[in-house]
């Protein structure tokens, strides 16, 4: 992607256990801690996400899933630990936060499209204002992406004319329009009518097939099984179990995970 990220790769010193030929992971979380007042939401999270990998974080409400995703995008500050993006420490207060965020795409549960802007303007906003792409070029690319997700005819509509599923697909297009190095998807189907969940999940599957690097949270276990390379189970702010979907979902070891899986339909 952007050329300067390559140069950061060798800066992360010591404990790179992987061979020197393999590139640094896209995202590496080391001992992330975060408390809100007296409540410890994240209690030392370690997580490594390699290029083209899809990690699904599961866990009960309040287990810290959303907070974890927000810390990865610096939308939430951390109390301790380190966050490395392409090997460079982005939890360092001296880095350019806006620049870092522009390298990561985020999709929220509630879509959060800008209601005063057309679909096209929503999708091109970051390209034009953050990445300095000229308007015609940004619009051509945005129209191409919207066409691909079947929303080409909505380019000049305002978000309130769209269904929830369509809005969420626009939100995903907005997040990928600037070719982010990492995509964070925070329960992207939780606010949707069951009938509309499918169209959004299909789009996420397509992104995976195209090689996107994705960290996501979801309550859709069947989807997690299908799309995840690895599933991470978060319990009371800690990773208590992680592994390939089949292994983790079919033969859970930790009692909390067993209990969790018995409560969600999958």
């Amino acid at each position: 992607m952007s050329p300067d990220t390559q140069s950061h790769q060798n800066q992360s010193r010591d404990d790179q256990t992987s061979a020197s030929s393999t590139p640094a992971p896209v995202l590496e979380l080391r001992g992330i801690r975060k408390s809100f007042g007296d409540v410890a939401v994240l209690r030392g999270i370690d997580l490594t996400l390699h290029a083209h990998e899809v990690i699904v974080v599961i866990g009960a409400s309040g287990s810290g899933k959303s907070t974890l995703l927000k810390t990865a995008n610096l939308l939430e500050s951390i109390d301790d630990g380190q966050i490395l993006l392409q090997g460079a420490d982005i939890s360092d207060p001296r880095i350019d936060v806006d620049r870092t965020r522009s390298r990561i795409g985020v999709v929220f549960q509630q879509f959060n499209l800008f209601p005063h802007l057309t679909v096209l303007a929503n999708v091109t906003l970051a390209a034009r204002k953050v990445h300095g792409v000229a308007k015609p070029a940004a619009e051509t690319e945005a129209r191409r992406l919207l066409e691909r997700v079947g929303l080409g005819s909505f380019a000049s509509s305002y978000p309130d004319r769209l269904s929830g599923g369509q809005q969420q697909r626009v939100a995903i297009v907005r997040a990928i329009a600037t070719n982010p190095e990492l995509l964070l998807l925070d329960e992207v189907t939780s606010a949707l009518d069951p009938l509309l969940v499918g169209e959004v999940l299909d789009l996420v599957t397509e992104l995976k097939e195209q090689g996107s690097t994705i960290l996501m949270t979801t309550h859709e276990m069947s989807f997690a099984r299908k799309v995840a390379d690895r599933i991470v189970f978060l319990h009371l702010g800690e990773v208590v179990e992680e592994g390939p979907p089949a292994e983790l979902l079919d033969s859970p070891r930790h009692p909390a995970l067993k209990e969790f899986l018995s409560r969600v339909s999958h």
Binding site: H116, G150, L151
Partner: protein, 290 residues
């Protein structure tokens, strides 16, 4: 994949029952219009008869509603009104700029801006409490008295006083609008990599403005008539022109003419404001048939 979103629905012709319901509704609609016309005519007639039959009506009519005086003084008052319109134009631009600045400063969170924020808060507190007429005296006579500005006409200082006062009201309205924008909108903007300033300019301000448009229009209407107060500094606006004409004719009709003109220029905007407010209310109450 997801294709073919947005198929249009063709409306079917209404059923017999629906046709009947519509007929009933339009019949009832015509009846209520008739009732409202009759009641309006009756009330106006009663008030008119009541006023005309008061013992002093003849004198009042002569000194306030003299058609001859009205026609004679109309040109000079209209000329004065042109000054009001010009002051209104420049004051609006000044208020828009200054009030936005104040609102943005009050919304800054960083501790670095603490002193600025205190100044802005103190400013809005002070000028919302201070009567415009006092600000007009202070600015109109005080600032030229400092002797650091070249001699400027009274209307310039009047405009400054109006900007200074109205900015504090408008800033509060704007701030309320910006705070009414849901935090998730800022979050979404920042997650795209937009800076704080870009988020404010491209996402928060446009949405906040929409939320408070009726309140802003209301302030504008209010300012439109308060512009008449610059007459106390000696600027020959519509009110001052009426004042001069009254002194010449010993008749109060010029004030009536000036008042009528002020109402006439503000009427379109008042109606527009009402309409906007109603439309917004309708949009926000969609689904509630109460």
């Amino acid at each position: 994949m997801t294709a073919g979103d947005g198929a249009a629905v063709v409306a079917a012709p209404p059923s017999q029952i629906e046709v009947e319901r519509r007929l009933y509704r339009s019949r009832r609609g015509r009846q209520s219009i008739l009732v409202s016309i009759v009641s309006t005519v009756v009330v106006v007639a009663l008030v008119w008869v009541g006023v005309v039959n008061t013992p002093g009506w003849a004198t009042v009519q002569q000194s306030f509603f003299d058609p001859g005086v009205a026609v004679d003084t109309f040109p000079s008052i209209l000329q004065g009104l042109w000054l009001n319109v010009r002051i209104l134009f420049f004051a609006s631009i000044g208020v828009a700029i200054f009030a936005t600045l104040l609102a943005v400063i009050r919304g800054l969170r960083s501790p670095v801006f603490f002193p600025l924020r205190v100044v802005a808060t103190g400013y809005t507190d002070l000028f919302r409490g201070l009567p415009l007429i006092i600000v007009l005296y202070l600015v109109g006579y005080g600032i030229p008295g400092l002797g650091i500005f070249p001699r400027l006409p009274a209307e310039v200082w009047g405009t400054v006083a109006i900007i200074v006062t109205y900015s504090s009201y408008v800033a509060e309205v704007l701030r309320a609008g910006m705070e009414a924008v849901h935090p998730s909108q800022r979050l979404a903007a920042r997650s795209l990599g937009l800076s704080h300033a870009q988020t404010l300019r491209l996402v928060v301000l446009p949405q906040g403005l929409r939320k408070v448009t009726p309140a802003l229009m209301n302030d504008f209407v209010s300012m439109q008539k308060d512009v008449g107060l610059v007459s106390i500094l000696g600027a020959v606006d519509a009110v001052r022109a009426a004042n001069i004409a009254q002194a010449e004719t010993f008749n109060f009709t010029p004030y009536f003419v000036a008042g009528l003109l002020f109402v006439l220029i503000s009427l379109p905007l008042i109606r527009l404001t009402d309409g906007l407010a109603r439309r917004q209310q309708r949009r926000e109450q969609i689904g509630g048939a109460v």
